[in-house]
């Protein structure tokens, strides 16, 4: 198995979470401006916005830290 060239798993996780973070934060911002769908509980807390930001933070950290062109790997 060629370990030297293998991209760390954490980079894949980071990228996926980053993409999801962008989408869900976008939805959260949209529902801050326009009314959220009826029938959902606890929407006053804007969970989509905060959760999207959390995904962005985790995804951004892993993507940056384990980016293939950086020397460090996991």
């Amino acid at each position: 198995m060629d370990e030297q060239k293998q991209i760390p798993i954490w980079f894949f996780i980071g990228t996926l979470l980053l993409i999801y973070g962008v989408i869900i934060t976008g939805v959260g911002v949209y529902y801050c401006i326009f009314p959220a769908p009826q029938g959902l509980a606890m929407q006053d807390y804007h969970p989509d916005l905060w959760w999207g930001i959390l995904l962005l933070a985790i995804g951004g950290f892993y993507t940056f830290h384990y980016f293939p062109s950086r020397k460090k790997n996991g």
Binding site: D2, F12, I23, Y31, A41, M42, G74
Partner: protein, 739 residues
Amino acid sequence: MYDMFLFAGLGSVPQVLLHLSAIDWLIIVIYFIAVVGIGFYLKRFADTGEDFFLAGRKMTAWVAGLSFISANLSALELMGWSAQTYQYGLQAAHSYWFNAVPAIIFLAIVMMPFYYICKTHSVPGYLKLRYDGRSSAVGGISFALMTILVSGASMFSMAKILHLLLGWDMNFSIWVSSITVAVYVTLAGLISAIFNEVIQFFLIWLGTLLIPILGLIEVGGWSKLVETVQRNVQIIHPQFKNANFTSLWSGLGSFDNPMGIDWFGIVFGFSVCGFSYWCTDFLQVQRVIVAKNLRAAQNGTLIGAVLKMCVPFIVILPGLLGLALLMDGEKPMTLVPESDVRANFTAYTYNDLLPLLMGKYLGPGLLGLGVTAIIAGFMSGMAGNISAFATVWTYDVYKPLINKSASDRHYLNMGRWCSVLGIVFSIGTAYLLFYFSNILEYFQALGMIFLLPLFGVIILGMLWKRCTPAGGFWGFLLAIFASIGMFVLVHTFPEGYRPSPNAILESTWVGGVEQPPRVIVKTESVKALENSEDAKKPNSENKYVEQIVQVVIESGKIVLTNVPLTVKSGEEPFVKGEFTVGDAGVEIPGVAKNSGEEKKIQIFSTKVLLAGEEGTTKFGVEGVRTVLNPGVQVVARDVTQYFNPGQFNPQFTKFLARSKKAQPFAVYVYCSLWTFLISVVIAVGVSLFTKPKDEADLKDLVMGLTQLPDEGRCPWYQEPKLWAAIVAVALLGLNLFFW
């Protein structure tokens, strides 16, 4: 008048529980593209058998630990144990804090050195080294069979759940998920399965963690949750009014608790089940024996123990929140088991609990993430089973029994083909499961039959050098037969089992056009709550509600099971056969005698046209007098079964599980304990009269003959024994706190 509404407002559950938006679909599609893309990327790193089957033995402790726990954290576990918590209360947490975590610590500290140092590629491989080829062959074949059955069950559950949640066609779900798993496992083997398991770990936590957080905020914190749960279970589980649903141990003095098991069963039976699964199921063990060194393997396992200890936050807590927060109007919502005939007709099931909470809290985007977590959970569980199947089949069945001296490339290709064949076999077993109703009981039975006998001989083999190859083989094989015998016994009814009387309404087809049955429901206003305790409360005496007094079936087909019909007065009740109702009409009573007991007759349909309402609806009533109008087609069946895998005969369970009150869960736990004891007793007995292996052949396989490798000094925070002690203390604290 016989009975009132089965559920409020002529209950029916919607055809589809959750509705996905375009954003949700986008999130699901991105996940599928990612897992297949990673499979293609990793293919270049799986050039040899060691790469494909053992991921090159290069995993770090974190990757091994996350993969170890993810292989078990399937969607079935998420949905199944939150459902069990709704049913049993906090006692369900024993599955984590008593069944799993102690066993994982034991695996890390006691068993891992033997697995790791002997460099076995699988658990049956260890049997071959410790005993001989006979035990290994039984282990390989039984494990291959079990993984296929488990994988098929996961596939079936996924298809069923996606069908119920999202309305997806079951065949579509089975084939799309299978092809995806086949692609990424076949391309890169274990490394691909492990990568996807680690991704799935993040998706499951991030997709479901919001539910308990928002639920706890809504209910007002833990103490409010406890208070609300205890209040609501009076209505949801009236048969367990005095049970404490938020305690781990205090209700286990007798069998009179929701789980139907006593402390003896939990301490001695359930713990042995945990040890057998976590210490000998190769699907689990494979994840950590591929770590880069023994310390990483042990620490990876302990990381798994810590994570497992946290899983109740996303599994058990939602179950309690469901008891507290799911409402049907002003009353707590009552869910039913899958085996209940009302399930999915007029009532949500226990398994719907997590999706109901998802629908309550998660909007567009977050819902897509939650559904992706469920799909990822199922697919990684399937991939784990398939990669373990490929390894065991190739190394423990094909290589020793069929083709002993092929090249590494040949075995690598065999592993790839096995992955595809494993998927195909799993699809076959998935369709087999269309005939079973309770998947968690099915898994428990599989563990009892295949894992407990294995655990008995493995643990004896590791700890007692005098245990002989003959003892191991006969202990293993005879315990498998004994557990199958117990399984058959508890489901056998020598005097016959008669299913409860019920009727299913079906459409008829006229000229290729579906004609749903037409139904008229007659109600009258009656005084509410008479003869009930609530009627004594102030303000309740003037309450009136609408109750069903009669149902008239105007057209369609009705399939009756164990329902006696009186076609004309004075005639013997009609119990089986087919006919069309004549001019005089036919009446079905509200109750019928069944095995000497009076049972309410239940009538259901997935699709009826109700008089006075537009469109079709699901329909269900029980205990109501029903009239069949002329022209209705009747198919009457008289059913008596002598073996039913979904029912337990208390005549036999009272001996095996120590009480007639033992619930199915308790019966399997006790049968598992007997299976383990049988395997140990036979192995010891046979060993005393047969020749043991030479000590030289047992080096690095048995306690006392195994030298731990010197891996050099490590910082204190990487010391496995320290972490094992910390986890054990934390575990003890949790058990005492929730006593």
